[in-house]
Amino acid sequence: MENVSQIVQKVRQAPWRVQRQWIGLFLLGLVAVSMVAGLYLNITVRATLAGREIQTIQSDLIDKGRENSDFELQLASLNSVKSMQKRAEGLGFQPASPGDITYVVVPGYAPISAVDMSESETASPDLTQNLALQPEYTESLFDWIARALASSAYSGGQP
């Protein structure tokens, strides 16, 4: 019985076994660190790409806004009073005089005296509110750890 115990003891304390345990522990730590670092890199890359995309979209938005202004102005120039008069005259029209007009009484008809862009048009919603990402997608690993620690410290202080 004593011999068996000694053999087990020797096997347990064999140098190769101790080394293997250390190597295993080291590799385990390495894998863990690599996984965390890889995850961090992956998230950082994705966040950076998303940020770049947002920057590009914001830039495009500004460009499109300018293009829109240009088109709006071109349209207004084409529809300007002078342009329209010239086109109308070219088509053989001339300004009507009061005598040229025949009025017909239409009960209930109320002519439009002005456009009402004020009430029909609602303010454009702030899209950035919907685009707001959760902190998990934007903060760094260290930020996350700091936030987690701060959060646990805060909750620990509660009765």
């Binding site: 590799l27 390495l30 950076t48 770049r52 914001q58 202004s69 002078k82 048009e121 950035t128 934007t138």
Partner: protein
């Protein structure tokens, strides 16, 4: 089994450990390396100013009067070792820029400056040409280099109608500052609020970029079609009468909304650099609000209204016009130096008798007369929402330059200086049941409910009954004279004004101001029109030069505003 030596295990383990440890170390190193930080802008912040797009201006039907268009800032990155000679030549070809000036701009810079603006507000066509030259240089093996040239697009103000309503709109300088008219008055809301913030270059923090709302767009009460017609009529009138300048105002007398406002000179707002040339010296940008002058006989409508309101006279009151009346010891004569005998009050207005109106004012007395003139707003700003309004001047008893004779002369519009907009506001009381409305050009802000749907009444200088009476008298006065202002089928009330022009040596005998104020249709006024021609050369009577212009204006108005003749309108009302 043969055991391997332990040092071999150790060596392999160390190697593996080094390789394994190198992986996370390398990951962290890449993350924190300056190269990556340079690409991602990690930890880098820059102060940046964001200028919001200037708000647009529309007429009452939604037609664009003032918008924005793209122009470019062309700059040179001095840190990129620019090929200055090539850039200067390219700037000459594309921008028409003196090469010496271009080189000087790139050379005469302070030591720490790394970027200079070669030229700003470059038209897209020119910028495209320069970009094409840049492309050509890339393909050219001779070594020409335009890579240091950079383009930055931004917006600038533009006016698609050029000079239409220019005196109402005002203009915007390259510094995005509004001057005159609406652009100056509403500059704070049109321009928006520029924001200067510390911006992270790190794309992961892109959502921290500020959201800059554009400037507020506004809708004016101006009707583009009416404005264009009025401007055309005014230009033709100046040509046909030889007048030095002119002003025409069209207002809705019930709401105070300005439908058209034109005066000369006007300028193409896209070429605002000529403003000093077009408006030399003290030439007002908008005579309708900025030039006070003696209105002459159009002011008689206020004197008569005051007298009717106080009961000093009635329409049937008869006055014996002997051709002269002494007020404060000074004789006052009629415009023709004649005597018109017995005249009722309508006759006094129809023949525009100075003596009769001077008598009326003396019957009212200083206190009553000037109290009414002040209630009509004379000598005070109307508060119209346009920059540059002048207050005019109404001398009052007790002022150092007021004399007793002023009571008589003020009654027919002499010795008092008012602006056309003051005259229109005062007359609105006569057209609008005694209620005087605030003249304004802002109809609404885009996206906001209208704050001014109801007319803003600024006072009730006379009773409604008085307003109806004076309107009827003015209708009769025009019809009895077969005025050139009358339009067949429509009932119009109005009054001419022929005023001598004061100089430092007394009144000019050769030059006059000719004006006409009128409104209609009298039972339900839709328009109030004021015409003023300064120094017409073809005739010295407003009934000859100003009244026909008023008629031309209302001829267009009834068509553009869809106002049926009285017979049709009353038929519709009775249904």
């Amino acid at each position: 089994m043969k055991m391997l030596p332990s040092w071999r295990y150790l060596t392999v383990a160390v190697i593996m450990a080094i390789i394994g440890a190198a992986i996370p170390v390398q990951i962290v190193r890449i993350q924190s390396s300056p190269e990556v930080a340079g690409v991602t802008g990690q930890g880098t912040y820059v102060w940046e100013t964001f200028y919001p797009a200037r708000g647009e201006i529309f007429d009452r039907h939604g037609n664009l009067l003032a918008g924005n268009r793209t122009v470019y800032e062309v700059g040179v990155d001095l840190a990129a070792n620019p090929d200055k000679q090539t850039i200067a030549l390219a700037a000459q070809m594309a921008l028409g820029m003196d090469p010496a000036v271009a080189i000087a701009r790139m050379t005469d810079v302070k030591p720490n400056i790394t970027y200079i603006t070669l030229e700003d507000f470059v038209e897209p066509v020119k910028a495209d040409l320069l970009k094409q030259l840049q492309e050509d240089a890339r393909a050219d093996p001779s070594g020409r280099n335009l890579e240091a040239v950079h383009f930055k697009a931004h917006l600038m103000r533009s006016y698609p109608e050029n000079d239409l309503a220019s005196t109402v709109l005002g203009y915007v300088t390259r510094e995005n500052k509004g001057y005159m008219g609406v652009e100056e008055k509403y500059d704070n809301i049109l321009a928006g609020i520029p924001v200067t913030e510390l911006i992270p270059a790190d794309p992961r923090r892109a959502l921290e970029y500020p959201h800059i709302p554009p400037g507020q767009s506004i809708i004016l009460t101006i009707d583009r079609e009416i404005q264009a017609s009025v401007e055309q009529i005014l230009d033709d009138a100046l040509l046909s009468t030889g007048a030095a300048s002119g002003t025409i105002l069209v207002m809705d007398p019930k709401t105070g909304e300005i439908l058209a406002m034109s005066s000369t000179p006007r300028m193409n707002l896209n070429d605002f650099t000529r403003v000093a040339e077009i408006f030399p010296g003290e030439t007002p940008f908008n005579r309708a609000i900025s030039q006070a002058y003696e209105p002459g006989s159009v002011a008689k409508i206020m004197t008569m209204s005051a007298a009717l309101d106080t009961g000093t006279v009635t329409p049937a009151t008869v006055y014996l016009d002997t051709g002269v009346i002494y007020v404060g010891g000074i004789p006052i004569y009629d415009w023709d130096q004649g005597s018109w005998g017995y005249q009722d009050m309508t006759g006094c207005l129809a023949h525009s008798l100075n003596v009769c109106l001077a008598w009326i004012s003396t019957q009212m007395g200083n206190v009553t007369f000037y109290s009414y003139m002040q209630r009509f707003g004379l000598g005070h700003l109307t508060g119209i929402d346009l920059a540059g309004e002048a207050p005019g001047r109404l001398k009052l008893p007790g002022d150092s330059d007021w004399y007793p004779v002023d009571l008589g002369t003020n009654a027919f519009g002499q010795g008092v200086a008012i602006t056309p907009i003051q005259m229109v506001m005062a007359a609105s009381a006569l057209a609008n049941n005694g209620q005087m409305v605030y003249p304004h050009v802002l109809y609404a802000k885009v996206g906001e409910s209208r704050p001014d749907k109801a007319a803003q009444v600024v006072g009730s200088p006379i009773k409604a009954e008085t307003a109806h009476t004076i309107s009827s008298m003015l209708v009769n006065a025009l019809e009895s004279e077969s005025s050139d202002a009358l339009l067949e089928g429509y009932t119009i009330a109005g009054k001419t004004g022929t005023a001598q022009i004061p100089t430092s040596d007394g009144y000019d005998e050769n030059e006059i101001n000719a004006s006409f104020i009128g409104w209609g249709p009298v039972e339900d006024p839709r328009f109030l029109v004021y015409v003023w021609l300064e120094k017409p050369q073809t005739n010295r009577a407003a009934s000859v030069v100003a009244a026909p212009i008023f008629k031309q204006v209302i001829e267009r108005l009834v068509v553009l505003m869809g106002i049926p003749p009285d017979a049709i309108r009353l038929q519709k009302t009775n249904q």
